[in-house]
Amino acid sequence: MSVSREDILAKLVGLLQRFNTNNIDLTETTDISTDLNIDSVAVMDFVMEVEDEYDIDIPLNVLSETHTISDLIGVVEGQLK
């Protein structure tokens, strides 16, 4: 079963919503670590939800180079392949 980019975007935006305390528009260009003002423990919490949702593992080195929601969609797609 293939998952479309739009599906992943919608899912990630949904999972991120509870960290979106400033209520900004979440788009592909939103920087997860800086635009949302969420701390490192909460980020790991979110990453775990993404991993569990897609049954993937996102390595730390990949995470360190992930900034935007679009980057993360790419990571999810890469891990699903």
Binding site: D31, I32, S33, T34, D35, N37, I38, D39, S40, V41, V43, M44, D45, V47, M48, E51, D55, I56, D57, P59, L60, N61, L63, S64, E65, T66, H67, Q79, L80, K81
Partner: protein, 634 residues
Amino acid sequence: MFYCPDRVCEHVITEQKPAEFRYPGRGNKLTIMQVIQGNEQLRRTPRKTPGLNQILGNFKTITEALDYAAWGDTGFNFYSPRGALQTVMPYSQLRKKARETGRKLMNTGLERGQRVSVVAETGPEFMIVFFGCQYAGLVPCPLPYSMHIGGREAYVNRVAGMMQAADASAVVTTADIESHIREAAEIAGISNVMTHEELQSVAPDGDLKRFEADEVAYIQYSSGSTSAPKGVLISQKAITSNARAILEHGLEITSEDRAFSWLPLYHDMGLVGFCLAPMMGQTTVDYMATPAFARRPALWLKLMSDNKSTVCFAPSFGFDLASRRINGSAAEIDLSSWRIAGIGGDMVRPDVLEEFTSRLAVAGFDPKAFLPSYGMAETTLAISFARLDSEIKIDVVDKARMKLSQCAVPASDKDITLHPEKVRKFVACGKVLPGHEMIVRNDKGEVLGEREIGKVFIKGPSLMSCYYLNDEATSEVFGADGFMDTGDMGYMLDGQIVLTGRAKDMILHNGRNIWPQDIEWAVEQIEGLRSGDVAAFGVEDENGEEHVTVLVQCRSREPQVLENLRHEVSQVVHRSSGVECDVVLVPTRSLPFTSSGKLSRAGAKSRYLSGEIAEIAVAPAAVEVQVPQMAAVG
């Protein structure tokens, strides 16, 4: 020296492909059941070795201890991020591989006494290199294996600084972050960079000349500023003294103990407390990696239940995270074997421990297991432990009198029950370890009495040799009398130390030390800001939890400019330190400076809390238009 046969336990499989030490990708992903079935030959190391006498740290060097531990069947076990047993490394195997790897390291052109930086991921590869260095007479310097989302650049700069501070001659890394580490090594000017696989492909032809009792052991990075890290040089004498004190006096380890840890191995509590000290007591340790804990805190307790673990340490925030995540699973686990739940690495928070106890009572957790402790990298690890098998001692003091008189006066019963906001709760962290001295002094250097708050000083065999290649920092903390300034504030109570805070400006957030200098430096790089425009500090809430507050002097009063700046500051702080912060934009010239021209963080903080420094008043749009007109008229 002990003769030790390099025997292989037939039931143990350690010859796995290195890739399996790391997070499995989608391709080789298995469910927990499949992993367990796939590795059904894999058995954990036992709690003890029948017939082998337990020696609690009474060794002169790390290698002497490992030679002895290798006689037995105990050792290290590593669990995957999803809780499957992944690798088993008995001390006998560790010794064999460490000796072989030491020869390989010496065959890469290294000379005895040189420093080797090694990425300290939680796995057998790091340990093999660490102990290999001990046999070869090389000084291992464990590097952090931690990154936050989007944090590559900050990580690279941080480890480059660490390599430089140790004047390292070689770097060993895991393959997954090889590109990060190569970039850092290039900044540090180090060309000998190897992955574990590359190192293992070197012929084991170098000569081994192990460290002797009067030599150095390793370099541990202190929780110092990431922009100028300090390497704490630990001697064989310091590590063996501290490990013995921990095993014998602090924890009273027996052959029935089995340790568990998710602490990072680049941190003193992880490296000394849950790798070196247990090995020196021939105790088995079960590990889960720190990032795995951060993602699945409840798995920690599940694995402890499965292993009937007896000893485990964590900072307060770890207990907090796990108790909030365990939810309904608490009833399904059994923590009744857990006799020491040590707390260290941050201020002990009674409220968090109470919550943990109430949520985990159903699992048989005994609150008497809680063991407050005190220590730091500069004292190898431990300085004091509270009494075993007893309730935590909480001292309730009068907040106002404490501030006024620098004395911890017990609060009145009336205030405790009716005015909780007027009292402050502190936890006693025990008596100093045997063979060591601990005193509290005031600013004039006078030794203070019971309940008088001052700076904590330590003396004894566990102290570091120095900050490596940093005489200035070393002389700042060591006095002529041999006492070391810990930088912490506290008071003595019935011979126990009670910590109240820090003399230094460090911010403690979720068990991590954050240096305000690092935040200020990063923010000052924003265009339009200058050096001295920024002050960062921690503001405690009523639970003692610190929130990062950043004051930024701002020249504009335009709402849009202010909003953009606020956003940018918060981004920069996040990228450099991985924390959320309160950004307060303040008028120019509001931050106080000392007579020598240094920013006074304490001054800025107290003026901010008193309201003397406050958020800049935003100019209403209409006024903005008028200002230039008036100026033109004037």
